[in-house]
Amino acid sequence: MARPLRGPGLDSAAGQPTQLLRRMMVIRAFEAALAARPDHGFQLFSAGQEAVAVGLCAALETGDQLLTSGRSIAPALARGLDPGRVMAEILGRVAGPARGKGGRGHLAWPSEGFFGAHAVVGGNLSIAAGVALAFQIEGRRDVVACLFGDGACGAGALHETLNIAALWKLPLVLVCDNNQLSVSTPRSQALAPARLSDLAAPFGIPGATVDGMDVAAVRDAAARFVARARVGDGPALLECVSERFSSHSTATRETRPKDQMAAILARCPIARLAGELQRAGELGSADIAALEGDVAREVALAVAFANASPLPDPAEALTDVG
Amino acid sequence: MIYALTVPGPIEDVQEVRVLEWHGVAGQVFAVGELVVELETDKALVEVRAGQPGVLRSVLCGEGDWQALGRPLAILSDTAEEPLPTDTGDLALMAVEFEVS
């Protein structure tokens, strides 16, 4: 059944399909521009997983906070962070929000609702619960979302966090971007449960599994859970099943055979939404071309901005230590 | 006979006690088993009950005061009229029962 393109109860323009498409296209183009550079560094890319980040962020409001794993570029851009500042941070330039000291693995801009990435697998989960605890104690209506991969589901951190979040009814939405691989290990060889949202059940909190290649499905499921958390009904676990189009990182080789890759790449969330919008008459091919041009210009500006920013003085190795 | 009320040592890891509350004033008669004073150690509340009948004559450590184990907290006697010695060192020890909570 075709999912309605327009989500319920989301008034902001950011939640509308054309904007969702554009966001995903920016992420794809940004990562491609980064990958093309000889100085790209150690990167984890989100190609194929853009719908998870974009759909989730479409469900968040300004005062909410998002925490992520080391696969941070898509969520950061989806959250609305300035692409030039993000590129600068990734490339270690001082114009980055952390002056280039965190890089992609620890990308953070809390004043923009991106509490930050943490490069330790599962390492941000209890942190996110702590942020949610602070919101609860302060009586805020803001929600914390924490994005993590299937790779984090085997360690104790997730289970400890689910337990305490459930016990204390924390305003926390845990979102598992299940790209079905932990580096080279398929989910079935790493995790006993086939359906990762089942991990919520023992703790008595809601869990749901959606198609992570369908941005509207992600948005709508996330919106339900965020709304619930916002009114004090507690945490939830959302699993978005996605596909990773590249290898785990720029330092990891691809282990999947070419014919499997061909089938995976055919599930592109960007092509899917663009196709849906075209079939629904919302966008014509000229509109798509205009979007592509617009996105290319935005990414080019971001690259130029980052290129123009210097690397830090070596003395900054000793600043902000604490 | 005149007695000194003390908390005899050694008790593992307890060096000092602090008086929490006296359950009588000078002149008060205590029967066996009656609560005389509550003391605090670092870990617990100690209820000190009379192990023999006696009359409380003089409180040496008031509420909130500290005292080392084995040192006198109060003077008691078999009868109310016995004259108190000027030197309270070397008195017989009053029999007491402890309850630690």
């Binding site: 952390a98 930050g116 942190i127 104690i137 104790g156 400890e160 600043t319 604490g322 | 670092d42 870990k43």
Partner: protein, 335 residues
């Protein structure tokens, strides 16, 4: 409120000094919260949190399940989001379970976010051997004092438990506060006036001429006991209580050692990569070669067996013997 204790003190049990510090800070600042196992109605394993939940309510004083990684992570996240939590880890042996959020996030947050996020978190834990066996006896401060971005403090008296805990709760970064099982039975004078001690400042507990004995936590009491014995042998010990392991007050230690010409370090933890090894090297860098010795635990787990526990740990007599050997040895050669 003053930085140095003023005239007028009251005698408190060690646990009461802790409760007082927390009560004052929780009254003054609504952001201070307490998380830990059995800290609520139970009031803490040593009653060091007695009556805090009754006074400040269950939102600010929360019992957690046994999950040290999550407990520390919760504290880290809450601090990063603007609260000032204290997380109580009952046994230092189990701090290890919480080292990922403490070391990989809390100690790195300010740096990795370029100053956007700070983590004003206090992790309070109790170290030391007291008959509870190999996994409930360890002193692991040496592991923690070399983590950039993490402060480490260790009181040896109720007054310092009070003053250092207040300081820790006011510090704008993560602090590991380590007390000791065998300090809880002790009582001591605590200033009546509200007092915050500075981090990074050692205290000279006893002045002396012949040797500098440096220690912290419960071993400071052992050092003082040894100093009393040695005084009857006409050996005059200067005893320095570090109070703060990171930042370390090297100046106080180095200037004392330069004056006495002999340095003995004393810790209950392991000597390999221990606090003494670090201090000895830093003193040498600052003050030149000085004859030095170190005393610590035997290189073995510490059994609950009273004979074996006693055999494994420093006591006053062993410290005194080490001082005698140190002073009998020839002075260090100057280059």
């Amino acid at each position: 409120m003053s930085a140095e204790p003023v005239a007028g003190t009251m005698k408190l049990f060690f646990r009461e000094a802790i409760a007082r510090a927390l009560r004052e800070e929780m009254q003054a600042d609504a952001r201070v919260i307490l998380l830990g196992q059995d800290v609520g109605a139970f009031g803490g394993s040593y009653k060091e949190f007695a009556r805090l939940q009754a006074q400040f309510g269950p939102a600010r004083v929360r019992d957690t399940p046994v999950a040290e990684a999550a407990m520390v992570g919760l504290g880290v996240g809450a601090a990063a989001a603007g609260l000032r939590p204290l997380v109580s880890i009952t046994y230092m042996d189990f701090l290890m379970l919480g080292l990922d959020p403490l070391v990989n996030y809390a100690a790195k947050a300010r740096f990795k976010t370029g100053g956007q996020i700070t983590v004003p978190l206090v992790v309070k834990t109790t170290a030391g051997a007291r008959g509870q066996g190999v996994a409930h006896s360890q002193c692991l401060e040496a592991w923690m004092m070399g983590v950039p971005g993490l402060a480490v403090v260790a009181p040896s008296t109720p007054a310092d438990a009070y003053g250092l805990l207040k300081a820790a709760l006011r510090h704008d970064g993560p602090v590991l506060y380590v007390d000791h099982k065998r300090l809880f039975p002790t009582a001591g004078e605590v200033p009546l006036a509200e007092t915050v001690l500075p981090l990074g400042r050692a205290a000279t507990r006893r002045q002396g001429r012949d040797v500098t004995v440096v220690s912290h936590s419960f071993m400071t009491r052992v050092a003082l006991e040894a100093a009393e014995r040695l005084a009857t042998e006409a050996i005059s010990c200067e005893v320095i209580d570090l109070r703060s392991l990171a930042p370390l007050d090297l100046d106080t230690v180095a200037s004392s050692a330069a004056r006495t010409g002999a340095l003995l370090t004393l810790e209950e933890g392991q000597l390999t990569c221990g606090i003494g090894a670090e201090i000895a090297f830093q003193v040498r860098e600052q003050a030149g070669p000085i004859r030095t010795a170190r005393v610590g635990a035997a290189p073995a787990p510490v059994s609950s067996n009273p004979v074996l526990e006693h055999a494994a740990l420093p006591d006053a007599e062993r410290v005194a013997a080490a001082v005698r050997r140190l002073l009998d040895a020839p002075p260090a050669e100057r280059p």
